[in-house]
Symmetry: C2
Subunit: 591 residues, 2 copies
């Protein structure tokens, strides 16, 4: 139906006759002729109809925005002064000879350019219109290209694309499962996978050696953050490898994608132990574009009377730390109040600060409500340790270490964004040496990654002191976002049972939930490990989008619904009966 895409018609085709199809992007009447900008996925081309070609002129005159047309015409150079260097096709136009209306279009629910004030709800309801916008076209095409690069890279490295089931058994990843009632097994349910974790490990036990999959995963979580009920992972697993091998492969993949699609060299990814990341950046996914660090100052504050600082300074689980913000002395009282509110989200009870006006004057050159509690001497020692300069502001956190880290870690990112302090566009690193377990408030322990992660200690050490055991896990972090993560897995049945024990999972529960995994480990499981990347987030970062919804063709809203198809929807009683379930009656009004 066409000889060329609109966007591909250029000056090499001058004097040739071309046929193309697309949407009427703009229609103008000018000096007795009609100009149509016709759009397809490759771009726009300008078509001119003059009244000499009566039939075509009349049709062109009748078209409206978003009509679908097929046009034949002759390519010619644009008259001098009317060329457009910003347009791929800006040196030419097409003199229209024939035009066929392939389909009409009602007035669009929102304009496709200059749409910025259109609400997301209406964009999602008419997603098929929203995606006509060049930004959305570009983002989804970009996504397609990135997955293609990832696949090729992994296939060249010998990874096999193997599909794992979507209808499966409830998994222990922690989040809530989506359930699917079984018709043939009354009272039983499938779960949609939170990840293909156990299946990919079984594929290693089966000897496939290198597996990958671009896999749909599902979590029925509250979508407060930028999350989707279904999301996509680049999922990778390999056998007979160690951390260096698999991290090298993964890093190679991400570097290649950045090189090919953004022409960016991410360089070598440094590695940082978890403990260092927490200490220096208050985060296990530090944004290394930001030239600020969190510095311990407890040493100066243990013996002061001011309990707010002294108590956590003396508490082994406490932390007192400072964040020096270069140039931050200009922050207004109002801004500081806002930051105080901001760190409150993370549990911080306040946000002490010292502005450095004229450091050469000693404490006299500082401005702060807290110096009187800290003491002049201690204050100056802190300023020296921080190497404070005129114009800086120093923020303080003093609380349980967890709260201080989260509060100052988040503050560091927030201030950097507000003051645009980034020293580079991209900064990637690996975070390694994670703890195996986290202690909950009730004293129970949870796996920091998942219970199949191998510890870097012996089974005996694990048993003796689980909370100090480190794991062989690794996270890839880019610009303060976790792009992907994984670990060397446990391949020894005894070690796996040891981890289950540490997590308080009884033998019976182990058997019931993980019997097939324990079986698999018994019959000759190879050493193996892998990782998974969040594809949606990767594409979001690479395209500079503010939400993963911008890089998913048909996303769900925050309440996990599709406003376009009206999913989820009602179903018939027959369907429910077939599935052996019924709706729960609403509780009666309180009696």
């Amino acid at each position: 139906m066409r000889t060329h895409y609109c966007g591909d018609i250029n000056e090499t085709l001058i004097d040739q006759t071309v046929t193309f199809c697309g949407w009427v992007h703009r229609r103008r009447d000018h000096g007795g002729v009609i100009f149509l900008d016709i759009r397809d996925r490759e771009g726009l081309v300008q078509v001119v109809f003059d009244p000499d070609t009566v039939d075509a002129f009349n049709i062109a005159d009748s078209v409206r925005s978003e009509f679908v047309v097929q046009i034949t015409g002759r390519v010619r150079g644009r008259p001098e002064g009317t060329t457009n260097a910003n347009m791929k096709t800006g040196l030419i136009e097409v003199l229209g000879k024939e035009i066929t209306i392939l389909n009409k279009a009602a007035t669009p629910p929102f304009p496709l350019d200059g749409y910025s004030d259109v609400g997301e709800e209406i964009r999602l309801k008419y997603r098929f219109m929203d995606m006509r916008r060049p930004e959305m076209q570009d983002k989804l095409r970009f996504r397609s290209k990135v997955t293609s690069h990832a696949r090729r890279y992994l296939e060249e490295q010998g990874f096999l694309d193997i599909e794992t089931p979507i209808l499966t058994r409830a998994t222990p990843e922690g989040a809530r499962d989506y359930l699917v009632p079984s018709r043939t097994h009354e009272g039983s349910f499938f779960a949609l996978p939170q990840s293909p974790q156990l299946f990919k490990q079984l594929l290693m036990v089966a000897g496939f050696d290198r597996y990958y999959q671009i896999a749909k995963c599902f979590r029925d979580e509250d979508l407060r953050a930028d999350r989707q009920p279904e999301f996509t992972q680049i999922d990778v697993e390999a056998s007979f490898i160690n951390e260096d091998d698999i991290m090298g492969i993964a890093q190679g993949m991400i570097k290649e994608i950045f090189q090919k699609e953004l022409n960016v060299d991410l360089g070598d990814f440094p590695r940082m132990p978890y403990s260092e990341a927490m200490n220096r950046y208050g985060s296990d996914k530090p944004d290394m574009r930001i030239p600020m660090e969190i510095v311990d100052v407890a040493e100066f504050l243990q013996d002061i009377e001011f309990k707010v600082f002294a108590a956590p300074a003396k508490d082994p689980k406490g932390r007192v730390a400072a964040l020096k913000v270069p140039g931050g002395a200009e922050l207004s009282r109002k801004q500081i109040d806002e930051y105080t509110k901001y760190v409150g989200i993370y549990g911080a009870k306040g946000l002490a600060w010292i502005k450095v006006n004229e450091i050469e004057k000693g404490v006299e050159g500082l401005q702060s409500p807290i110096i009187k509690f800290i003491g002049d001497d201690n204050t100056m020692k802190i300023m020296t340790k921080l190497d404070a300069k005129n114009g800086d502001i120093v923020f303080f956190g003093a609380d349980k270490a967890k709260i201080v880290n989260e509060a100052l870690g988040a503050l560091r990112c927030k201030v950097a964004a507000d003051l645009n302090m980034y020293t580079s566009e991209w900064a990637a690193l690996w975070v390694v040496d994670f703890p195996m377990f986290e202690e909950n408030d009730d004293g129970s322990v949870t796996a920091l990654h998942h219970p199949f992660t191998a510890p870097s200690c012996s089974p005996e050490e694990l048993e003796k002191d689980p909370l100090n055991a480190l794991s062989r896990a690794y996270d890839m972090v880019l610009n303060g976002c976790e792009l992907g993560g994984g670990s060397i897995r446990i391949h020894d049945q005894g070690m796996q049972q040891g981890v289950f024990r540490a997590l308080g999972i009884s033998e019976e529960e182990q058997r019931e939930k993980f019997g097939f995994l324990l079986d698999a480990l018994k019959f000759g499981a190879p050493p193996h490990g892998g990782l998974a990347f969040g594809l949606d987030r990767l594409i979001m970062l690479m395209t500079g989008s503010t939400s993963i919804r911008e890089v998913i063709a048909f996303p769900k809203t925050q309440s996990a619904a599709c406003v376009m198809t009206q999913a989820p929807g009602a179903v018939s009683n027959v369907q429910l009966r077939d599935l052996h379930i019924k709706l729960r009656e609403k509780p009666k009004a309180a009696e």
Copy 2:
């Protein structure tokens, strides 16, 4: 952890030291030395341990089948007379210097070679062992390569890989949906997609022009045939194309896959109208490897007294037809009885036959219980029309056309398989010109493909005589299997509503179920079409497997369960309460 895969160690490495990992495939004691065959995904290598290397020898002596080991040794040529030309590594062996046991293995639940009498249930329960067998390794690797070829081919043709949702709205494909209760929308349910049909059409409306996806699809059907609850489609859609364009692209893809992976040239695919396929082969997916056709013989039998033939011969909806089987006169009475039973499955009430012994003797040279009913003259006219030769058998079908077609169509395939009558290994074709609708017994009509398929007639003709309307659908058939199918879709809102009307779908139901599609057609939908291939079936055919379960890593059983993970399983009441559902109480025993 290794320098080479086992299967890659060959005579070019003689005298070099190599390290490899894998499973102990076989262990033999022979003349005081120990032979281990070590297996990884690339193949087997033979390792020899002699008692001089004491430590290694002792470890090698202790290993058992399926232990996981790492071995370092020197490659050497095998002694004359012990080489094995059938093995990639058959010219060499490795003199083992070091061996580490990476993991032990309990005795496998079934032997990994010579397993033929192992039941499928036990193979599926220990799928991670079953997949260690070279056949399964080969099949899944083959599958990975085929999907890779398909992707590359489509991407080179400008198709973008775009993901569509798994959590979606109930679709109208006809089969039963898998449902997913929503937690955030009480009483509402998502459905898992039976295909991405509507989403891919919306992507065309959105202007992506060319879309593909290797997509998981779901149908909650009874798995009597070789079906799976979840299966995989190569799903394709394009805009501004006609049948020839999209069929050319699809055919090119399949031809390339066969050429690259099997070194088979499938040639040009002929096209055959649906009506011809039904008449000549009794099937809309004729197996063209079989040199037999179904031939109408009603013309000779309309006026005879024998009602069994005469009635359908005169009925416009009836059919009387013959299938001549060359060499079939050798079939025993018992075999014929079995075929009679076989066609009974398709509703045939009997299977009349005539054996051709000595055709030169006229009816005297024939053997049949039915000649006396047909009459000598009619019999010989039929023999002449069929060009019957000595040694043939002729089977007859006489009933409603649908029954005759199905019965003789199936018999044709069955006899061809039994007598190995195939004239080629592969035979592909397109079946085209399908009817838009089928009439049900109650007089209502159903879409033969789906209600989004474009008719090849005008809206007015469709309205006037829907049952005679043909569609712009096309099926690709290979060796009697439907590999894929698709159609040019309706892009005109009025036409779409006309088809919905013909199907008896009220305006209100149209709006409720397909409102978003009708909206999309209203806002400038381009002409478009596409198709989908059944990936599982394609791989099954290409690998000569007898079931799609053989080409899926973790398939479900016939009762839609996973015997390995024990899915589906029980869930807690808390989970059900969160989803606003409960289990239906079992009905009390009859009162």
